[in-house]
């Protein structure tokens, strides 16, 4: 089975429409930059807000483009071919979410350290913040993909998606922001990171089945 060929195809497509991929990144930067303007540029305040701001901004930025995860495949008929392929759909979906995270989630994780500096987040806690995003954003990608799979056949699916996905994202947000917040105060942050890790394992093993199920239902009619 040539897994790499499927990943390569998705990456090539992503590269050809790289303009679209920049949008969530710019959104993330702008949203984080808005907080000092709206609240106050006071370093101590920003420092205490930083973990929450970064995490909420990453969560919202991740939602942009999430509804297009399977949309073009649905519209051009590629999704039918995926369903008819002898390769298990769950496996292909897992690869798709991985490549999607690679081109949308990973840039956010990398950029988050820069934005955290802007918010006066302590540099010695940066490792924990990046780690929390590294564990948490893939979970968000999986949750978004479940919603995208369910709504792919709907005309206004893009509107419905955040409403479906955001409530499910709450645990990730809580533990992610908690890890980064504790680290900023110099407290041990291992426990929330472990929770994030556990959620990632759960998402990795269960979400592909939910996504594939959603896609099958969407295509049945």
């Amino acid at each position: 089975m040539r897994v790499t060929a499927l990943i390569e195809r998705d990456l090539r497509l992503a590269y050809r429409r790289r303009g679209e991929l920049v949008t969530p990144v710019i959104f993330f930067v702008i949203v984080t930059a808005l907080f000092p303007l709206a609240l106050s540029p006071e370093p101590a305040l920003l420092r205490s807000l930083a973990p929450g701001v970064i995490w909420v901004a990453a969560l919202l930025a991740g939602l942009i483009g999430q509804d297009s995860l399977f949309k073009s495949d649905y519209e051009d008929g590629s999704l039918e071919l995926m369903l008819l392929s002898p390769i298990p759909l769950e496996w292909m979906v897992l690869l798709r979410v991985f490549t999607h995270w690679l081109v949308t989630g990973l840039p956010l994780v990398i950029l988050s350290s820069l934005m955290a500096l802007l918010l006066n987040y302590p540099t010695n806690a940066m490792g924990v913040l990046v780690m929390s995003l590294l564990l948490g954003t893939p979970v968000l990608s999986f949750l978004g993909a479940v919603g995208a799979g369910l709504t792919v056949g709907l005309r206004r699916g893009g509107m419905l998606l955040p409403i479906l996905v955001l409530p499910l994202s709450v645990p990730v947000l809580i533990f992610g922001a908690a890890a980064a917040g504790r680290a900023a105060l110099g407290d041990p942050a291992a426990a929330p990171l472990y929770f994030l890790g556990a959620m990632l394992v759960l998402a990795l093993t269960l979400a592909p089945f939910a996504i594939a199920g959603g896609l099958r239902v969407s295509l049945e009619s």
Binding site: R2, L13, E80, L84, S85, P86, P88, M92
Partner: protein, 217 residues
Amino acid sequence: MYEPATSQALSVHNLAIWRGERCLCRDLSFQLSAGEALQVQGQNGAGKTTLIRVLTGLGRADEGEVRWRGESLRRTGAEYRACLAYLGHSNGVKLGLSPRENLAAFCALLALPDSGGVDDVKGVLERVGLSAQADLPCGMLSMGQRRRTALARLLLARARLWFLDEPLASLDVSGVALLTEMLKAHLAGGGIAVFATHQLLDLGPFPVKAVALGLAA
């Protein structure tokens, strides 16, 4: 019930498909064995696409069942999917990729063995007359050329069963001739083809069965 010894056959038993309140077909039964073709007839909206999707396993029938080599589709799964090639309304062609890249990705989707892939793609592109456009993004090609890319997919798949939904859409005269040739070669090789077209295709010596939809309602 005893299954007749047509191990290669696709058979449909008492199929009923409902679309909401409307009955598309009821008590539909037929059997296709190697080298046979079936034309699904019916006016627009009669349910040709729905029937073909049920036969591929993409859609679900309300009653009855489809069997491949005597096994119900519900049990065959990936084994059945490895035997079939489907050409739907939409081409399944990525507009951002060239025909060559599209077909290479399709090889991966079929889980074809590594060997030969590239040469196969080249030969197939030549066959459908897209050698000159092989490296242009499909978004720049005409509708007919995109359709030809989709036809190239059928040749790559080497599937025993072909399901073609309006295969002639956007094809020019030579495209229709190409498809007819492809179908003949497919049937001569012991393949089975199910297609929905409004035009009659002249498949020469090969028998074409017909199913008409839209009469049940």
